[in-house]
Every structure is written in C-alpha cells, then in structure tokens.
C-alpha cells in the first residue's frame, strides 16, 4: 500500500494542504478547533509525517546534537538530561556524541553533524579541539558552549566557576581548624581541573598554610584513581587530615581506600568532593561536596540553543550559574544550620 501523505489527510479532513502543513509546522497559527480536527483525522488514518521530507521543506531536521567527552561521568549524564528535556519539549530529538576526548571521534562527529544538517550543537568548552570549534563557526551551525575557555569565541555560553567551588571546599575545611589539607586532582589536561587546583592553592595560601607538593596528587578522574591516590596520601609520612577531591567519583574511591586502611571518615580524614553527584547523598558517610548545577546547565544551554535556532538574532548570550557548597557528613562539620542552608 502506498504510504499516506499530507494530501490524503487534507482530503479526508476537508481542508487545504496548506492548513494541514500549518498544523504540522506552525500549530500556533491554526485555530484550536481546526487543529484538533486535523490531528484527530491524522490519528484515525494512522498518518505520521515524513520527517525527512519535512526537514527538506522547512530547512530543519528536528535534530540537535550534544557532544560530551565522557558518557560515564555523571556530570555529563545530568547535562544530557537537561538538554534532552528541553529538546523534547520543542519536538526535537537529541543526537548524542560521546567523544572520549578523542580528536578522531570529535572530527568524525563534527563532519557527520554538518553533513546530516543538524539544527544545532551543544558542546563542552575545553573538551573540543580549537580546529573543530573554528569549523563550527565557519559553518555557522547554531552552537552553545558549556563551560568557559580562553580566547575570543562567538558562541552563546553557560558556565560555572570551578575555581570558586574548589576555593570554597578547601576553605570550608580550613575554617573548621584543619591545617593539613591535600588535593586529589582530576586530569590536569582539562581547564576545569586546572581551575580546581588553582582554587585549592588560593584557599591554602590566603590562609597562610603550607602546600606540600606530595599533597597534590592525580586521581585520574576515576574511582580507581581516587582509591590509589588516597592510599598513597594515607601511607606517606606526615599524612593529611583532610582531602579536597576534584570529583565525587574519585571521592567514592578515596572513601573506600580510607575505610580499608581502618581509618574513620571524617574523624581521621575529612573529605570534600566536587559535582554533587546523585550518589553523594547515598554513600556512608554522606559526602560533603560542591554542587555544580549540571542539570541546570543542560537546561539553560538548550534554551539558548533554541533561541538561536528559532530566531535569526546574531546576539550571543552568556549565563553564569554559581556553584554552592553542599555540606553533609564527610567533612566532619555536619551538625547545624549549614547542612540546611549551606554556607
């Protein structure tokens, strides 16, 4: 049987082809009564629009892409949740590109997105090569960057403040009398982890505290890396009394290591993580951490992207979403009003 087309619907509904087309593409321009009638007819006939033809017609594919470096990292899952929610509410599908920080995958995906004519792209600043970003700019693909990077780029962006988060986390430990604070870093190839290291150092230096080189140690952004880094810190001479850890994932590993060494969190070693991963409220003791509003960043980035897709405005928007300290138990300072209201 020949597939149904828009003409069949128009005939059955007793309206013009243009009216059916408007119901599909600009439903707000059709009266509610007519719209409901036509939708009802479509349902009766089991008609579904040909999205490919529709894309050609409107010069829109109804597809946006989200390019993230690591699908396993819960921060990117949260961002994806926010992006997908807005895209879905706009009737769009989201094409997920997981690059694993591989230049090859990045360039493959960018070519694919441009050839497939996606309507827009959301990517993570600092995790996409400069050549790739130039390619996007050149192609005038509506794009929004999550995070902030050096240089003059003409993208709308949503960013937070990793430096400030790390400074707050470290300061929280210092303000409560801990002098020996170590830092397990993430992969220092990436700007967010460099910023966290700077924030840690700034808090220590402002408090007039010594930073020992051996107290700054990489945890490789993984649970296993966090575990090993914590073991090394504990077993070293002059071991720290607290550790600020650059993400919650590594913090979970570190907590495991501290427990297997027979030490108590927070009595022997206090811990503060980063991200406010959903799991951080479930581990024992509950993890004190820095809340990075990742889900909200996804929502916001996608809203900015649709502002660009839906209008021809050249104007770019930057939105800053602050980090906050989420005080729970692992820092050892959980009693009191700060657990309810934060700092």
């Amino acid at each position: 049987m020949k597939p149904l087309n828009i003409r069949d619907v128009a005939k059955k509904a007793g309206v013009s082809v243009a009216t059916v087309s408007r119901v599909l593409n600009h439903p707000d321009q059709v009266t509610e009564k007519t719209r409901n009638h036509i939708l009802e007819v479509m349902k009766e006939m089991s008609y579904t629009p040909n999205w490919f033809a529709r894309g050609l017609n409107l010069n829109k594919t109804g597809l946006i892409a989200l390019m993230i470096p690591n699908i396993v990292n819960p921060i990117y899952t949260e961002i994806a949740k926010g992006v997908e929610e807005i895209a879905h509410s706009k009737g769009y599908s989201t094409f997920l590109c997981n690059t694993e920080d591989s230049e090859k995958k990045e360039s493959d995906y960018i070519e694919m997105l441009i050839h497939r004519k996606v309507d827009g792209l959301i990517f993570i600043g600092g995790h996409l090569g400069q050549e790739m970003m130039k390619r996007i700019e050149r192609d005038q693909l509506p794009s929004v960057m999550i995070g902030s990077i050096q240089g003059e780029w003409n993208f709308s962006q949503v960013y937070s403040d990793f430096f400030e988060g790390a400074r707050k986390a470290t300061l929280h430990l210092i303000e409560n009398g801990i002098i020996k604070v170590a830092h397990i870093t993430g992969d220092l190839d990436f700007i967010e982890n460099q910023e966290k290291l700077k924030g840690y150092k700034a808090a220590m230096e402002n408090a007039g505290l010594k930073i020992k080189d051996k107290w700054i140690i990489s945890g490789d952004d993984t649970i296993e890396g966090g575990y090993l880094a914590a073991k090394r810190l504990i077993r070293a001479q002059n071991s720290p009394d607290a550790i600020f850890i650059a993400n919650d994932w590594m913090a979970f590993g570190a907590m495991d290591a501290i427990k297997t060494e027979g030490l108590n969190i927070p009595r022997d070693i206090a811990i503060v993580g980063f991200d406010n991963n959903r799991m951080s409220a479930l581990v024992d003791p509950k993890l004190t951490t820095v809340n990075l509003p990742a889900y909200k960043m996804g929502l916001t980035a996608c809203r900015l992207l649709f502002d660009e897709i839906e209008s021809d405005l050249e104007e770019k928007t930057s939105i800053y979403l602050p980090v906050t300290l989420k005080i729970r138990q692992s820092c050892g300072l959980s009693n009191g009003i700060k657990t309810i209201f934060g700092e």
């Binding site: 509410s89 509003p293 929502l299 939105i319 979403l321």
Partner: protein
Amino acid sequence: MRLKTEFMGLSLKNPILVAAGPWSRTPEMILKSLDAGASAVVTETIAMEVRQNVRPWLYYKNGGYENTRLYSDHALEQWIQFIKQIKKSGGPVIASVMAHSPSEMAYISKSVCKAGADAIELGVSIPHGESIAVMGSNPEYLYNSIKRVTQTVDIPIMVKFSPHVTNIPEIAKIVEDAGASAISAIDTVRSILGVDLENRRPLLQTYGGLSGPPIKPIGLATVASIAQSVEVDVCGIGGIETYEDVLEYMMLGASAVQVGSGILSQGVGVIDEILKDLEKWLSGKNLLINDVVGSAIKSLKPMDDIEILPYKAMLSGACAAEMCTRCIEGCIASAISVENGYVRIDPEKCIGCGLCVSKCKSGCIELSWRL
C-alpha cells in the same frame, strides 16, 4: 472609579493585586483571581530549574501559614505559554522570577517579557531552601541583578523585599539606583510554626516561610521604612484579609497591595469583598484611593518629638470585675485591683503604659491626665 490608580507606570483599575504563590500556579487560577476583581496577578515564582516539592509543604496554625514550597512546578517554556494565554484573556500579569546570578535573572526576565508579561517581580528574599542570608541582603549582588534586568527588558521591575535585611533604607536605595520601578514588601518570614511535642519534631520538616495576619505588623513597618527612604512605588504584602488591612498599608506609603494567604483563608471571594468595602469606606469619606496613600506616615515621629504627658489609666465608668480581669492580670505596675466587685485603678501606682487600654474588651479604660 474611586479605586483607579497608577502603580509603577501601570494603569490599574484598583490597587489590589494577587501575590506570587501557589494560588497563582496555573492560568486557570490566575484568571479566577482576575475575574474576582484583582487588578493584576503575580505568577507563582518562575525559575530555570523545576525542583520537586516535598509533601506536605503547607501548615496552618494561629492564623499563620507556613510554606516550604519552592517555586513553580512548571518549566519556563510552560510559563511562556501560560502568560500568552492569560494575556489573550486580557489580564494584566506580573511574572515572578527567581535566579541565582544576574545573567540568569536577566535571561528568565527576557523570556517572560517576550511572552507578554506586563511587569516583573524579582524574588530576592526567599527565606527557605536557599541561603541563610537572603540574596537581597548582598548589596552588590542585588544591584547587579536588578541592573542587568532593567538593562535587558523595558517593562517595569518590582523587587520583592524581606524583613531579613537589617538596613532597609540602604537596600531600598540600591534597588532604586539600579532602575527598579517598585519595591514590594514583605516576602514570607523564615519560620518554624511549632513543634510536635510528643514526637519532638518541627511541624514541617524544614524551615519555612510564614505568611498571614501574624506578619502584618512586620510588613507595615517594612513598607513605612521603604516609603520613608525612597521615591519608587511601594506594594504592601503580608496578612491582608480586609479593606482595613489595605488602608493601613496604603496610609503607610504603599500605592498598591498584594493579597496572598487571604485567598487560603477565604478563597478568591476575599478580593471582591475587600474591593466593595474599600469603595464603601472611600465614598463615605468622599475620598479617592490615592488620597490615602502615605497619609499616616507624617504621624510617625522620632522619640524626641513625642510629647511626654503625665498620662494615667482611668475608668470611664463602673466596670464589674466578674466580666473579665484581663486588665488586672496584665498590669505590670500592680495598679489595678478589684474593690467590692468593681475594677479600681490606683493613680499613684499607674505608670501610664497603656496596655490595659488596648487589652480592655469593653472600652471602659482610657489614658488621660488632669490639670
């Protein structure tokens, strides 16, 4: 006609607005308030991120309502449709907006403005679920947020104030300097409405925001302080349930008011009732509503300017003690006693505080002095 007024550049048919709150969470509810006579409605607070609300989140005790609800449970996209729908029905709508940074505040404001909102109320005083110090108590943050919004949109901006700010004149001045057109006061007051003694836990599981008649005196003082400090319009909020409440706020400098928990007490019918009574009161005195605005402020005096007169409590007639002894129990000077079944006030002991006058139900005590 007596009720027609101008508020932050908007021409309103009367000074009664409906406040941001759960009674303004859908277009249907907002239109219901407009139908009931409100001149404009403030939406429930719109934020970038919808957060799940705990249950229960509303508790009533001693005339006050404690609320732990966090903002609207509808997304920004949904509110854009809602505002369009309300505007189609012709109603003036003010979007309540909350955010965590100036750029975020400006973005949401721009979105609701494009949807057709007539004005925006910025929420900077939420007492629960946010920080210990309300956002509005940080002058730099407050200035930057408002400035960013007033530079982004061209509709009037009202900033919602809280009593959780110590230096109200300073903060009000910042709001004015940043280009806002009005200040509304007060937001709810951080509260714990009571403790369940048997189970030893607060009635609601966290701190909440108190509204209703118990906060009215705090609202009145805040409104007067703002009106005495800045030129921008003031909108009174807090415990308004009758036309007298409206007049009190307006005489202390508010040029409009918002009804909120009055709706929880009496339904939207409270609006119509207030309007009728207000009209009646004004016509009885042959006044327009604008005539009363600020009319009581000049009677607020510095301590030094208040005449010190040798007032004593005196009975205006015989009062049988068997009816009530409220005056006797409360007298800190032990000046009131019962003699032969009648209330007696000892002028030697009375120190003229006036408490018995306001406590007396039958109005038989007055403060006066004799030459």
